[in-house]
């Protein structure tokens, strides 16, 4: 069983709740945050291996969070989970090591693909 901690950053509580349930069932330890500032606080504490990030957030947006967080934890991996189905990964994030396989559009029909991607990263 994998004990690496995942961070779910999404302003929608029901999304965080359901995602947590699923990932915990998969054996991941999860923590969550409703905004980027809280997420950065958690990231600072360390121990988080991967963040699943929503883009449209109150205050600092998801992309900014990734850029800030990666400075604190260069080892951390990121998945993007967005409701904007027209979103295309920016060059800046590509340069930080993300690629289009790390982008998931809501609603995700089968969570297995997210789990698979997480497993690839960890």
């Amino acid at each position: 069983m994998c004990t690496k901690k995942l961070l779910i950053l999404d302003d929608d509580e029901t999304i965080r709740f359901n995602m947590k349930l699923y990932l915990e069932d998969e054996g991941f330890e999860c923590t969550d945050a409703g905004d980027a500032d809280s997420a950065l606080l958690l990231a600072r504490k360390g121990g988080i291996a991967l963040s699943i990030v929503d883009l449209r957030l109150p205050g600092i947006n998801g992309e900014e969070y990734i850029k800030k967080s990666i400075v604190l934890n260069p080892e951390m991996k990121y998945l993007i989970h967005t409701g904007n189905t027209q979103y295309i990964l920016s060059q800046e994030l590509s340069d930080l090591g993300l690629n289009h396989e790390d982008v998931f559009y809501k609603p995700v029909e089968s969570f297995e693909i997210i789990v698979n991607r997480i497993k690839q990263h960890l």
Binding site: L21, Y105, V108
Partner: protein, 567 residues
């Protein structure tokens, strides 16, 4: 006598009204000359006249004024013997002073005026006046043609004046050459006529009895027949019945009336006209000016613009909404997946929890099966997937094209779309497409267009597919279903036409078919987004145009216009 002549001769001339100022100017100059001559005549009676009836030049201080006057001046006594003939009259008539001094005025006038009937009247009347020695109270005025010595025709104004002093009556003529002015006026007249004939607005003027006094070329469309005898407005223009109300309002109120009317013409076309009726503020000839403007194109353009704007605002709304709805859809989808997982045996935690409660996991599963809980979850998932599909389509509708455009052959595009259609499984499943006759009318050497190929294919596919659906409607079994595909072009654009002989589109639906979510198909059979996406692709992404012509029972024709590359 002169009065009747005047009436006869001053035929009512349109230009005169136009050049009223011009004429006023002439009259003022003329009157100045008249006053001068009358003064001179008075003077003449007080100066010595020699045997040759010549005015003593030295004694006449006004001589230079007469001599150099811009108007031609002739003076003669009651016997008709000419004693004054100035420089200007030499120029106008071609006769020199030496030739005419001492000659008889009638002899000269006959030579000058012989070309005209009116001339004879003038001469006869003058003769009577001379015999009777009756000085005229007011000068008589004629506009007349004369022939000069060389036989050249000139247009002149002729004044006949007379005055009595010291028991001697002196007569005189002032002749002003208006040939050039007349030419100018005529040119102005024709120029103005060209102007009003070039105007597409129908312009008709009527007098107080509603008889037509003037019209321009554009008025012809409302005319019936060309009987020149008919002058009454509504008989001459039977197709102008729709202005009647405005016309009557103007008659009643004597104010400018502006309005518009919708008219359905004999071919069933709906036309829009803007009407203006102005009271003609001419005291002598009161009447009205009617202006009728065909504003059909403008109204149609406005409709299209309103439609476009509506679509744009819906598009903006759709983009924002899609984003927002995807979040709750995400929860629904995840929730269902969680439900399924948490009722499955494969998860040790589930078994653990069931055991703790003393429930056999397989019983939970059986209960769920009996109560069809899995079906319920499944239906939620399906619904969420469908909603997600609609959102995707909506986003496509609102998306600005970012895909790369390439130069492509329009005919190839059409053929490829048709191939897509023949291979479309859904369509094949429900209809026998091969039973529909497809006629292609393709122009030669159609220029390439710059397009996003998949988008235009999607549009053409969608419209042809709609035509197939229309032809295969159960309620409208077409006997000879035909789809005609046309491809035409001009220098600036290419035009696709997709025409079917199906049931057509209701007038009330015609304005709405491009609206998102508007569908006449059975609920669940279409998203109602096909044509609105087509609209956006053509209009927004390709700067083209899409429209439809249809009437119930007469089929439908979709027209797509796309700009030719480089134009």
């Amino acid at each position: 006598m002169y009065g009747s002549l005047l009436f006869f001769y001053r035929t009512i001339h349109f230009i005169k009204e136009m050049t009223a100022l011009n004429i006023l100017y002439f009259l003022i100059i003329g009157l100045q000359t008249l006053v001068l001559i009358l003064v001179l005549m008075k003077k003449k009676s007080s100066i010595a006249v020699n045997g040759n009836n010549e005015i003593n030049k030295n004694d006449c201080s006004l001589r230079p004024v007469v001599e150099n006057n811009v108007d031609g001046i002739i003076l003669y006594d009651k016997s008709g013997t000419i004693f004054e003939w100035n420089k200007s009259i030499e120029k106008i008539t071609g006769f020199t002073k030496d030739e005419v001094i001492g000659a008889n005025i009638f002899h000269i006038l006959k030579q000058l005026l012989k070309i005209n009937q009116v001339g004879k009247f003038i001469i006869d009347d003058l003769a009577v006046d001379l015999i009777n020695e009756t000085p005229q109270k007011d000068p008589s005025f004629f506009e007349i043609l004369i022939k000069d010595k060389k036989g050249e025709t000139k247009n002149v104004e002729l004044y006949i004046i007379s005055g009595k002093s010291n028991n001697e009556t002196i007569f005189g003529n002032i002749i002003r050459d208006i040939t050039e002015k007349e030419k100018e006026i005529k040119e102005t007249y024709f120029y103005l006529q060209y102007i009003i004939d070039s105007i597409k607005t129908t312009i008709i003027t009527v007098d107080k009895d509603f008889n037509v006094t003037h019209e321009n070329k554009a008025a012809a469309r409302f005319r019936n027949g060309t009987d020149p005898e008919i002058n009454y407005l509504f008989t001459k223009y039977p197709k102008l019945g729709f202005i009647r109300e405005c016309f009557d309002k103007c008659t009643d109120s004597n104010k400018i009336i502006n309005d518009s009317r919708m008219v359905i013409n004999e071919t069933g076309e709906t036309l829009y006209y803007a009407i203006s009726v102005f009271p003609l503020s001419d005291e002598i000839r009161p009447g009205k000016v009617i202006m009728v403007d065909d504003i059909t194109e403008r109204i149609k353009m406005e409709e299209v613009m309103i439609q476009s704007e509506k679509m744009m605002s819906v598009a903006g709304l759709a983009a924002g909404m899609a984003h927002e709805i995807n979040n709750p859809l995400g929860t629904i989808s995840q929730g269902c997946q969680n439900l399924i997982r948490r009722t499955s045996f494969s998860l040790p935690k589930n078994v653990e929890a069931a055991n703790k409660l003393g429930i056999l996991p397989e019983n939970i599963n059986k209960y769920f099966e009996i109560r069809e809980i899995f079906e319920i979850i499944n239906s939620i998932q399906q619904a969420s997937q469908k909603a997600s599909e609609i959102i995707k389509n909506m986003l496509q509708f609102s998306r600005r094209s970012e895909s790369k455009k390439v130069l492509y052959n329009p005919e190839k595009l059409l053929n490829e779309s048709l191939d897509l259609l023949y291979n479309d499984y859904d369509l094949k499943k429900n209809f026998d497409i091969r039973s529909i006759k497809i006629i292609k009318e393709i122009a030669c050497a159609v220029p390439d267009i710059k397009v996003t190929v998949t988008e235009i294919q999607q549009v053409l596919f969608n419209i042809i597919q709609n035509a197939v659906h229309a032809l295969k409607l159960n309620s409208y079994p077409s006997e000879n279903p035909v789809i005609t595909l046309r491809l035409k072009y001009t220098i600036s654009e290419i035009t696709y036409e997709i025409e079917d002989n199906g049931p057509g589109i209701l007038e009330s639906h015609k304005n709405r078919i491009f609206e998102p979510f508007f569908s006449t198909k059975e609920v669940g059979k279409g998203t109602g987004l096909g044509l609105s996406v087509a609209f956006m692709i053509i209009k927004n992404n390709h700067k083209g145009n899409i429209s439809v012509e249809s009437a119930p029972g007469k089929g439908a024709k979709f027209i797509i216009k796309l700009p030719v590359y480089g134009f």
